[in-house]
Each structure stands twice: as C-alpha cells, then as structure tokens.
Symmetry: C3
Subunit: 319 residues, 3 copies
C-alpha cells in the first residue's frame, strides 16, 4: 500500500534504510515561459520485519516541492500483520486502495506525472486508517478494503464517520488483469457524502505494457485534503470524471518509449470544459536502481487552447 | 535521558537506526462525539558509540499530531561522555531529569497517555542543556543534574539565567525504589522564578508493578514552552499540583491489565477545580517489539461533570 | 559538493547512514547579555553507490536554529555520475561551487562560524542545479562548473534564466594551492544580473595550515534566498566585498590553536562601514569523530564600536 511494498525479507531483524530521490528539470512553455530545477520527490525511510508476522514501513517525504508549506512530512507509516494470507491487516498511514495509477508506486510510474484525473479525484491519495487485504499478482484474485479518516495525512478526522474504500483485481490470464475500485466517504461532515468508482485494465505481453483506467466521482469534496504529490487541488463540480490509457515497449537497449493519453472533466454538468493531455515519453534504465525519464506533455483544452505544454526530465536513484 | 537509552553496545562503530511508531485510534465521548485515526508518535533516529567513551543519540519526531505546526522536529539529540561511572555527562537536547513518569521512555509507558499533572507541570518536558548523571537501577543511588535553557526545544533561551533540574533515586531493596526531583528556573525573564518538587515510588514484585508520584509546582510559567507529547498547555494558577498512582499485573498470557488513578489541580488557590482521571487499561505484548494497548479514560471534574470520557487503542512497533 | 563528500566506497550496495550533531553553548556580550544552548547543526542522511558509476547523497538538516521557520529541511541531495574522471556530473541540490570557505565541509570548519563575507555574499550557499566537475587535491588542476536556479533551496526558480557558477583550483606545489571562483546570475528576474568573484589560497606545511580568501560581489540580490547556515541576510549595497585569513597549528596533544581575521564591507560606496572580526580559537580532537571548539569573537565596527563580542563553545560528533 505504500509507494514501495515492504519486502519482509530483511535477513536479520534490523531496520533497512530505503528511499529514492528524483531531481527534475522542467520547462513550461507558458507566456512568459518558466523553467526550474526541483525535486519531484525525495524520500527516506526504513522498513523491517518483526518475527514472525509483523512488518513495519516508515517513509518521509523531504522534497520542499510537495507539501503546501514546503516542509518534510510523514508519508506512509504502517504496521502490518501478515499471519493470514487472505486477511493481512495494516494500520497507520498509507494510500487509499483506489485505482491502478494511484496504487502504482511513485518510483515505478511510467510517466513522470500521474494523470490529472488520478491526482484530482482520488483525493486524499494518502490517509490514515485500517486495511484488510489479500492476494498477489500470482493469484486469480486480489483485494484491499480500508476504513480511513478521509481527511488526508496529518489531520484528525473532522467527523465521526469513516470513509470506506476498496479495490478488487482479477487476473484471469497470465498477461491480463482487470479491476474495479469504489469509495464511499464523508469529506467534511457526517451528512454530505462522496461516492467514487473506477475500472482498470492491464495487458502485459512480452515487452509490451498497456494500461488504462476510468474514474467517476460525485458529491462533497474537501479541497484541503489535497490531491496527489504536490498538485494543487482544483474546485470540482458535483459530478466529475476522466480516464487515461498508456502503452509502452521495452527495447533491448533498456530504452522504453511510452505514450499516454488522458482526459479530465472537472464538472460533467458543464459542456466543453474537458482537458486532454498527451504525453510522449522516453525512459532509459541505466540499471535496476537508476532511471532517466524525458516527457513532453501536449495539453489541449476543449474550451480554448492555452499555452501550457511542458518538457520534463527526471533522473531517479532508488536505494 | 532520551526516550530510549542509547545502548552503547553497537558492536561495530556504525550508526544504528532506531525508532518506533504508534498508530492509534481514539474515540472521544464528547457531544458531538469525535473519533480519528492518528499517530501518537512516529520516531526515527540513530544512535551509536564513538570509541571509547562517547555515545550519541539523535531522534526526530515525525508524527504530524505532536508539534503545533504539525511538522517533524528534532526531539532528543545529545552527545554523552561516559568515562566516569559517577559523573557521566551529556550535552544537547533531552528530557528534563524531573519525575518518574516523564522519564519513563515514551515507548515503555504503561498507559497510552501520561498523567495530566506530568504533561502540564513538567513543562517543557524536553529542553537543551548540559547534564551530569551517575548510577543505574542496580546501584543503591542514581542521580541526574542538569542546567538547561528552560525554553523548550528549538528555541533560544529568552534570558541569560539557566534552569537547574535534578533527580535523585534510592533503591534500598530489590523490589523498591523511591526518589525525588526539584527544579528552579526562569521561564520568561531573569527576575520571575519557578520552583517545582516531585516525590516518586516504585514497587516491582514478581509480575506486579505499582508506581506513583506527587508533583508540586509554583511561580512563573511559559505556556509557549509546551507540555508533553502534543498536549495543549493550560493556563496555570500561581500554585498547582497533582498526583498519579498505577498498578498492573503481567499474566502468563502476555496480557497485562493496568489501572491508573490521577488528580490534577491547575490552581491550588481555587477550591473545587480538581480533575480526576481513572484509566482502565489492557496491554497485550505480541512479542518484545510489538504491543497493543487499549485504554478507557473515565474523567471526573469536581466543578461539574463534563462529557469527555475516551476510548484509546494503540498498536506499537519498536525497531 | 555536499558538506561531506560521498565516499563511494561502501563495500556493499546498501545505503550508509551518515551525519553529525553540533550542540553549542554561546554567550553574547551585548547589553543586556544573552546566552543559550542550541544546535549549530544536526544532520542526518544517507549515502551510497549504485554499481558501477552512480553515487547518491541525501542529507537533511534537523536543527531548529537554521531555517527561518525552525523546521527540518532537505539540504544536499544529489545523484552523481562518475564514469569520466574529468567530467563527473551531479544533479540535485548542493553548494554553489564558489569559494574556499563555503566549500569547506560544515563539519570540517576550523572556526565555529564561517566568515561574514562568505555567509552574506555567497548567497544562496545551497541551490538546485546541474554540475560538471573533475580533478582532486592530488591533481594539478581541479574544477567545478554549475548551472543552478539561483533562488536557493526548496524554491522554484523565479525566472527562466539560470545562474552560472564556477571554481578553478591549481595545486602547483605539494603544500600550496591557489584558486578562483566566479558567478554570473539572475537573482530576481531575467533582466537584473549579479556578478561575483573570489580568489583563494592555502598553504599546508607540516602541522601548519594558513588559508585566505577575497570575495567581490556586485549587482542585484535576492535577500529571500538566504545566506549561510541560519545567518540572517543583511541588505547589501550595489557593490560589496571582504576577505578573511586564518592560521592554525596542530600540536602533538591534538590541541589546535587557531586565529582568524576577517573584514566585511556590505556597501563599498559608503566609507567607514567596514566590520572587522578577529576570532581566537582552540580546537581539541578527542578522536577522529569528536571535536571540541572554543571561539572568542572580537568584533570591531569602523563606524563606531558596538558591544557584540561573543564566546562560543561547540562539541561535535560525526558518524
């Protein structure tokens, strides 16, 4: 559920230091243009195993470009009890078990940015709560079900009702998985609710990987709960939705071209306000721990084209 | 003096990563009621030994529910010189050597919350300064004496006079220890002073542990210096005091029932304003590093009963 | 480029925890006088090597006495590609490659404080960007050249032009090195520029070490970019400059007397506003990782003597 799965196989009982950093250069073709070096993410933490059935995972975000105040903060931190294969349990802070892209680890994303629909509608992406889960990619079924505050990281719940979030994945064939997610929550108070659905698929054939997801979301929202990694939350309409689909091919030179197409509609009751982003990317893997990503984002607004294309370059080291 | 004693026995010279996390669920029976998942504490740090006589200890708090701004901060960080058994020295930030409960490590508390009298009167609980100390639980005598800023963590002293804090413990019998603490300080300026005393006892017989403490405090105060782990400081009268006493029994099933009774009087010059809290607890130790605590707090106010009982559940993993 | 050079020789691939803490007591002979315990620095991080050519370095500052808000922050964090001896590359956050004193590691400074001219004119001392560098103290030549935001740590660039900073060092004799630095940048916008120069020398003969540096700086400035470790930036004139020179001798008792003289002129167009600081210091090395420093600062202001001398004492442990 964290960005990284706690491996649970540290040979001795001592904590294992883990993390990754993502220095990034980005150029935005706005008018006037801007460009900057920054850290997309800079994470440091520990994970480990308590004999026999407990694992722990503690990860902090140190990039100044993520939280609104620019300060470090505790990201994922949870204790898991793994005795029962089909009813593992975790308590602490972790990602909402909703959607394929949000639950892809931040160091394993295929494009530098998640889609706007994932960042804006699966909000808060991280929260505090309790989760039951079972199954792996090797099983026919995988599920996660969580009860969470619904207010995001570092904030006490503002109401006494808890949010319920779940995801179910089916792996019918070796190269295919399909899945669905739902959420029913109380973003602000005990009365107004929010309901969200998502459907996902993934085809993984030899060196080709194709993925996609559709997300629908309606009802109340808490903009203070924040969206994805440092993205500013937008004000949403009563109903909103969007989708993304991407394909990539790993060549023998460890060079992986990727193309992604996404649509985001922040208010379904208004026509002509959809945003479309096409990302042309190239990933190069120096080795298992080092990756360079170059992305060009072509952004089209149905309501009237805005100059906001961007070129992003990111180098990542994982440890 | 930190929450954890630096072990000083890391076999090689390399820093040892240590810490613990305390995800917690709490329900407050106020009107309207509230409930939330949170982190009581989430700590990460390192400790180690410099051959031959120095040790170091660095610990940061990452829980967003402790500091007033919600940000991580440096908690205990000190260098110790341990050449002389009866005059060990530390410099840096650490707990004031005052009182039994405050100097019980945060991962070794028998109830989820410290008593209100410890949190409110031993303020600041942590501070920067210099300490001389000697003796262990195995000796007849143990002492600690410190000179500290008196302004709490992360703040320069606001006056040129330093606070003096000391604690003396006597272990006359195997199963019994008694002790006393004092503090004489300058919370705000060079003129107004604060004087505090405490008396403590502990009986440790087979699986039974009984402890108690009385604290008296008078004079000036600096509310900005903060109290215990994330508790909001209250405005105190000229004289204030209180006590707590608790007993617990470790059964052979690693299940430990605990009961605690405490009184806190924030202004001794006003009658009928005492608060009484009775805590009914159950601790379960999965193993040496993993503990589940369930506490029910029955809170009685002499001035007029308020609806504020609470149910707390905490899972802790130490590493 | 970080305070510590990533060693690149961790035997296994796992991250190595590194850091140091500097608890400090200081007394300022102002009227009224002040005195306090504090942390000059408290740093914790990791470094490591990715086979075969990459290294990483991540270091956070945890002292509450450095950043303006008192919060921890990411200091140096960079990925280096070391395949080409004369064209190594780094990307991330690190010190500007400008000047001898700023590029002396913070745990290896010979006096407790850097000179005022280094702290005030080489601002921001740390920044985000890309660097090419080559050579070591063993070579005749060493160079560093960087393209950086120019806005300091944790802030996006406020303009689309980047700063260029470089340093060249020549080691003509075993015991002698001389060098020069330059910077050409855009502190606030794409129009107003800033130009800086520095010249340095170092003589290292047996146990004697003599160093000095002259810095000249003119043009625009961004006070928000901050100066050195927690020093408050002053408002500078159009042209400003200064120098420092220091000598020290390591005796056989591991006791090292040091004397430093420095001048800082914050506005060359105004006469009689120079500040002179003479530092009398004594360094004692308990061992390779533990050092005690005592400094007396005699501060003289040409415009009229102010009572502001200071006594500083710092204990440092490195790990």
């Amino acid at each position: 559920q964290g960005c990284e799965e706690p491996s649970g196989d540290t040979d001795d009982g001592s904590p294992k230091v883990i993390g990754f950093i993502q220095p990034q250069y980005e150029s935005h073709f706005t008018d006037p243009g801007t460009s900057t070096f920054k850290f997309m993410r800079a994470r440091l933490g520990v994970t480990g195993q308590i004999p026999y059935d407990f694992t722990y995972y503690v990860m902090a975000e140190f990039s100044s470009f993520v939280s609104s105040g620019g300060n470090p903060f505790l990201l994922d931190a949870f204790i898991s009890y793994r005795r029962f294969e089909w009813a593992k349990m975790s308590v602490g802070s972790f990602k909402q078990p909703f959607g394929l892209e949000v639950n892809t680890s931040c160091s394993g994303l295929h494009t530098i940015m998640r889609s706007k629909v994932s960042d804006q509608l699966i909000s808060p992406q991280r929260d505090m709560g309790f989760m039951v889960f079972g199954g792996t990619n090797e099983n026919l079924l995988q599920y996660q079900f969580a009860i969470m505050n619904g207010t995001g990281l570092g904030v006490k719940d503002n109401n006494s009702k808890k949010d319920m979030i779940g995801r179910l994945k089916v792996n019918p064939l070796d190269f295919l998985s399909i899945g669905g997610s739902f959420r029913y929550g109380y973003p602000i108070n005990n009365e107004e609710t929010r309901t969200s659905f998502a459907a996902e698929f993934e085809v993984n054939l030899n060196n080709l990987l194709v993925q996609g997801e559709y997300i629908y979301d309606e009802g109340d929202q808490n903009p203070a709960a924040g969206g994805g990694c440092g993205s500013d939350p937008v004000i949403l309409g009563e109903k909103r939705g969007g989708y993304w689909v991407q394909g990539m091919y790993m060549t023998k030179w460890m060079l992986q071209p990727v193309m992604k197409f996404e649509m985001f509609d922040l208010d379904s009751d208004i026509d002509e306000n959809e945003e479309y982003i096409t990302t042309f990317g190239l990933n190069y893997f120096f080795n298992d721990w080092t990756r360079l990503q170059v992305n060009y984002q072509y952004k089209a607004e149905k309501a009237g084209e805005v100059e906001n294309d961007a070129l992003l370059m990111q180098l990542q080291v994982k440890f």
